[in-house]
């Protein structure tokens, strides 16, 4: 019997395996579940798993292989932006579909890619707003790993904060290399910066392996959330499962989903997830939810289009709505981003998050940031304008 | 004591020893003579266990040792002074000597006085690194080191190479002394004919990986031996 193939392009080895392996598992579960429901268009789904091994060019190679050799109908994959950048040309050239489930720096909207993770306006900005309002923060440390995502996010935040009247001397920007493990100096600096009498918070775009030693050092130097809260954009339940969370209670994270969200959808999902992985303690996190949303949207779009043909699916998927796990209904926007609620959570002793703030309505993802000079005038609209970078001033698409 | 029978040894495809048989008896010096490249060193390597043999047997005290590891042979009492000295360059002279403690029981673990009597220079250089010594000093160290293990079979490959005349004489005297103790067999490869002649109880002349001639001390005087050693 013929099947519809779905490509799963997540690193199972190398530095990113830490984060990505779970996403592969989620995808396998979703595919299995869909098959239980009778498959798609009367055919069974078949997951094709490959391991791009945290090696960026290998991502491109594997993407090419999935599309042209395995003839998958769509690919769910990538974590880091660089891996996405690496596969982008492949998807454009071979005209296939990628669902990218991770928060990222924005500044991109491609016809063949659907961004189901958060854009900066769905994560960073609400987080800063929360701190300024709820915690009366006046002084900001923007600490990040030295690469594009943190740099861009911090650029956006810096512009945003300044537009809110924060003075330059109240912003400290600090970059560290990947995998930085000796945080003594930097944490001490943060402590110093924070003891100037004004309420201070750290906005952390620190990524990957460096987080654990960072939090361990925070705990050891006795920086408590009540003194200097840290809000992070890439620390979720998975990451916390590897740290002793007790000293971190009260530090924050901004996401579009928390495992602790109390909705029937989420409860059902977690139950299925644990049954599927046969692990009663397995945690769930935001990018997983993004894959759930993305996968369901794709299924709906395929059903709507009646085919898996990428062109038809790309046209059909805009406007598709599926319930997310936080009780709302997410919609695929014409700019290929989705609407999501923004949740701010505080870390609890058990490594879960306590939602302390949630936007009233869903926030639509913005591909282009208002706070960056080059992209201020750009919009993306693949429905009517058929363009990912339409310039509203020159009224031209791209070039 | 040592009895080598019908030994064959290859380097890759090249055969270096072809059915060599040699004996060495307690209280005797057996001398192996031969021109460059005839296989003298190869024979000693086989006895010390540095090269595997392809055929033949090596018996020590009647026990077949041809499959034993070098350190097992050392533990049986075979000490080897290799050609090219092979001292441990980064160990001090003292440490070099102390490596010989390995097969000894704890009370035996000291450097016998005869080592320093024979080679007084070693005593003054105990803390210098072996690799820094002069060639001749290294050779002395190599012999001294072998004596530390209290061997019952002493295998010497051109021990006089690079050594000053007075010490060569001392070594000669030492070999005679050791032979006189009757608790040791000595197997000596030597190019320096006069030296060999003075010491050998028995001799073997090798040619192209084979034994060409053998006999006792008196036979050495004959011209045919010198003939074989000439070109």
């Amino acid at each position: 019997q013929e099947t519809i193939k779905v490509g799963i392009l997540h690193s199972l080895s190398g530095t990113m395996a830490i984060s990505e392996t779970t996403l592969k598992d989620v995808m396998l579960m979703l595919v299995e579940e869909q098959n239980k429901k009778g498959g798609l268009l009367g055919k069974k789904l078949e997951a094709v798993v490959v391991d791009p091994a945290s090696d960026w060019p290998l991502f491109a190679e594997k993407a090419r292989q999935l599309i042209s050799q395995d003839k998958v109908a769509a690919v769910f994959g990538c974590w880091t932006s660089v891996s996405r950048k690496s596969v982008l040309p492949v998807f454009k050239e071979l005209n296939s579909i990628l669902f990218y489930p991770v928060q990222y720096e924005g500044e991109e909207s491609e016809r063949n890619v659907f961004y189901t993770g958060a854009a900066p306006n769905q994560q960073a900005i609400p987080a800063v707003d929360y701190l300024a309002k709820e915690e009366k923060v006046e002084r900001w440390v923007l600490a990040g790993t030295d690469y594009v995502y943190p740099r861009t996010t911090n650029k956006i935040l810096e512009a945003y904060l300044k537009s809110k009247g924060v003075k330059s001397e109240d912003i400290l920007i600090n970059y560290t290399p990947f995998g930085h493990s000796d945080w003594q100096t930097i944490v001490a600096d943060i402590k110093k910066f924070g003891s100037a009498g004004k309420k201070t918070a750290v906005v952390s775009t620190i990524n990957g392996d460096a987080n654990v030693p960072f939090y361990k050092e925070l705990a050891n130097q006795g920086i408590k959330a009540t003194d200097i809260p840290v809000v992070a954009f890439s620390v979720g339940e998975e990451e916390l499962a590897g740290i002793d969370a007790k000293p971190l209670v009260g530090h924050l994270a901004a996401w579009n989903y928390f495992q602790s969200v109390d909705t029937p959808e989420n409860k059902a999902f977690i139950e299925k997830w644990r049954a599927f992985t046969k692990n009663e303690k397995r945690v769930s996190n935001d990018p997983m939810e993004a894959h759930v949303i993305g996968f369901n949207m794709w299924v709906k779009a395929v059903e709507k289009a009646g085919t898996t043909d990428p062109d038809k699916v790309i046209d059909a998927i805009v406007g598709v709505q599926v319930p997310n796990l936080t009780g709302g209904v997410s919609e695929m926007l014409p700019n290929h981003h989705v609407t999501k609620p923004v949740l701010i959570g505080e870390i609890k002793e058990d490594g879960q998050f306590e939602t302390v703030s949630q936007t009233d309505s869903l926030v639509p993802g913005e591909a282009w940031s208002k706070y960056l000079e080059g992209s201020r005038d750009l919009i993306a609209d693949w429905k009517t304008l058929k363009c990912g970078n339409y310039n509203t001033v020159t009224k031209k698409c791209g070039a | 004591m040592l009895s080598v029978e019908n030994l064959s040894l290859y380097y890759g495809a090249a055969q270096a020893l072809r059915g060599v048989s040699v004996d060495a008896a307690l209280g005797e010096v057996t001398c192996i003579l031969g021109r460059n490249g005839v296989g003298k060193t190869s024979l000693l390597r086989a006895i010390a266990g540095h090269r595997p043999i392809s055929d033949g047997t090596i018996r020590f005290d009647g026990k077949d040792i041809s499959r034993l590891q070098p350190f097992e042979r050392a533990a049986l009492g075979i000490a080897y002074v290799p050609q090219g000295r092979e001292i441990f360059p980064l160990l001090t002279v003292r440490e070099n000597l102390e490596t010989g403690f390995a097969p000894l029981t704890r009370p035996e673990r000291r450097i016998p006085d005869e080592v320093f009597e024979l080679f007084p220079v070693l005593r003054s250089m105990l803390h210098r690194r072996g690799g820094d010594l002069s060639g001749g000093q290294q050779q002395q160290l190599a012999i001294g080191r072998a004596l530390v293990t209290r061997p019952r079979l002493l295998v010497l490959d051109e021990p006089t190479e690079g050594i000053q005349p007075s010490i060569i004489k001392d070594i000669g005297r030492a070999i005679i002394y050791l032979r006189g103790r009757k608790d040791m067999a000595i197997l000596l490869v030597e190019q320096y004919f006069d030296f060999a002649r003075d010491l050998a109880d028995r001799f073997v002349v090798m040619e192209r990986g084979e034994i060409a001639q053998e006999g006792d001390r008196d036979a050495l005087e004959g011209d045919d031996v010198r003939q074989r050693l000439a070109i």
């Binding site: 080895s13 791009p52 960026w56 290998l58 950048k85 040309p89 690469y147 594009v148 080059g374 | -």
Partner: protein
Amino acid sequence: MTTQSVLDKQSIVVLSLLAAVAVLVPVLNGLAVPGSALHLSDHLVPLLGKYICFALLALSVDLIWGYCGILSLGHGAFFALGGYAMGMYLMRQIGPRGVYAHPVLPDFMVFLNWKDLPWFWYGFDVFPFAMLMVLLVPGILAFIFGWLAFRSRVTGVYLSIITQAMTYALMLAFFRNNMGFGGNNGLTDFKDILGFPLQSASTRRVLFVLSVAALGAGYLLCRWLVGSKFGKVLVAVRDAESRTRFLGYRVEHYKLAVFTISAMLAGVAGALYVPQVGIINPSEFAPANSIELVIWVAVGGRGTLAGAILGALVVNAGKTWFTGALPEFWLFALGGLFIFVTLFTPRGILGAGQGLWERAKQMLGSKPSRSSFSGGGVVP
């Protein structure tokens, strides 16, 4: 049998194989009917092209390691620099077709608010200049680095470690967005090269053929180098550096020359690699990459040139295959392969193959030859 004749035989085999590949791959890809058994699928062309570039890179490492005993654990740096030079050219070729439609600045500069093109990007819109840089940048770095290191007689692990430090430092530097090379994301989303669209199958075929040609030329160059008296001096340096000095050879000049040549070869490999894989980013500088490529050489057989090529192809094809077929366990397979090769084929795959061949010949009764491996010399 003299050394010379063995070399020639090997060269003939290698070159004819390469020529065959250079013809067959484009033909099977372009002319055979898609779907037929003979058809070579589109995605295989750039993949094979990538292998070929890696083979050239491995060749460059074998030249210095196999023949001169310089174990560089930072050769990926030269590869990456060549790649960046090419990437910069391709980037400039995008022109106003970037997402922000900026006429000059690449996208990553626009959204991080860069105003002007940094000086070191000048000239890269000119193809010949860029190609010159592909050779010069790695070459000059290697020259300066080598000049410092070889003059002070840094050898062995010390040299290996400082080459590693070099590539590590470069990696960190290129990660920095402020360096102006696109940071972690590197350079990507290229459109065309010399006006030919990179996405088109025919451009791909041409690039492939060019890569094979470069590999062939590189192989010939290396063969010529190691076959000459120069090459004999290199081997002498490898085995007894100080003895070579006492014969009056200026070891540092030899090392410097071969190191620089090797770096330039690596640079060429990088330059050909980039348009075929479509991205160049700082992880190419990662020390682990450089270690891995040394391993390709070891797997294939160090000091044989052909072995380096073979090793690069085998390991990378293995990686492609394993990562697809055994995604969860491929590291076991690859790790196991490395251990197997070291334990059972000390002279690499090529050495083992030659050994079998020799034995077969002997069994068939032809006369045994003594110096069948003296061609390159195997590591003691």
